[in-house]
Symmetry: C2
Subunit: 139 residues, 2 copies
DNA sequence: CCTTACGTTAACGTTAACGTCAATCTATTC
DNA sequence: GAATAGATTGACGTTAACGTTAACGTAAGG
């Protein structure tokens, strides 16, 4: 084991970037925006498994079209303190909001998929017809 | 019926913007980007039902995080000619790609919803505990 | 010791998706 | 007919999310 004593692997910024198909610049930006905070070896960034999980969450958020600040808010939501009831209630409200947008997003996806299938069957039919026409012309 | 002879209603840019919660600027931009092309009454834009349907599709795309050019590409895909088999095959490929990203997006949504539920039940539990503590303290 | 690879910060550049504002036109209303 | 409401084009401003470059440090290898 190259690292301290836990059975955990560590990663340089370049390794992590390569693995996830992003650039180092992007990782530094995410850190600047408070989405990641890797440890340091002197000045060098060291990423551990926990950081990788976070990164995966960030990228999932991006695939859903969230902005970096929306992603940060979701982290804040998840990490927020559980001691004041006012806090907890506002949190539950925000969670409910998120759920709603996720659900309309899912129904948007479903209708987009339906549209897609319509277009696809049309295209397949058209393709068969074109090919049939070609056969006749060659005969 | 205020308009020509078809039973269709027409809309000014302001009406349409108001109805969909966007600004006129946005509608003009979408037109500039080739996503909409309303008729004109002199210089004024006139939107019909067909334009509204398009707009709805645009906004659905936005909710899914698509860029305007991705949205335009999807329109191009839907409207593209059905006469050359090469065209049709490349089209089927692109459709397949779209389907894949939609499906990973949907599974992203599902896992995000699961995370959300975990956090929510935790928050509810914490809220009950806090409230129980308050009761005891008041007693 | 020199090169090469990889890292650092800082700063400026770029693109998309609008917002904002100015100058002007048109139709309606008092 | 003067004012008001909404429309037009054109241009410049703004923000987010990076890309790119400069200037520099550091560890490994030949």
């Amino acid at each position: 084991m190259n690292d301290s004593d836990t059975g955990e692997r560590n990663f340089s910024i370049g390794e992590l970037a390569g693995e996830f198909g992003i650039t180092s610049r992007t990782l530094r930006l995410y850190e600047e925006e408070g989405l990641l905070d890797p440890q340091r070896d002197g000045t060098r960034r060291i990423y551990n498994e926990r950081n990788r999980v976070r990164l995966r969450l960030i990228l999932r958020g991006k695939r859903l079209g969230w902005s970096l600040s929306e992603i940060r808010e979701s982290f804040d939501l998840y990490d927020s303190s559980h001691d004041e009831s006012a806090q907890l209630e506002s949190m539950l409200g925000k969670l409910e909001q998120r759920r709603e947008t996720l659900i309309t997003q899912r129904s948007d996806i479903d209708s987009a998929l339906q549209d897609l299938e319509r277009v696809e069957t049309n295209a397949r039919r058209a393709l068969r017809e074109v090919q049939a026409g070609n056969k006749r012309r060659r005969a």
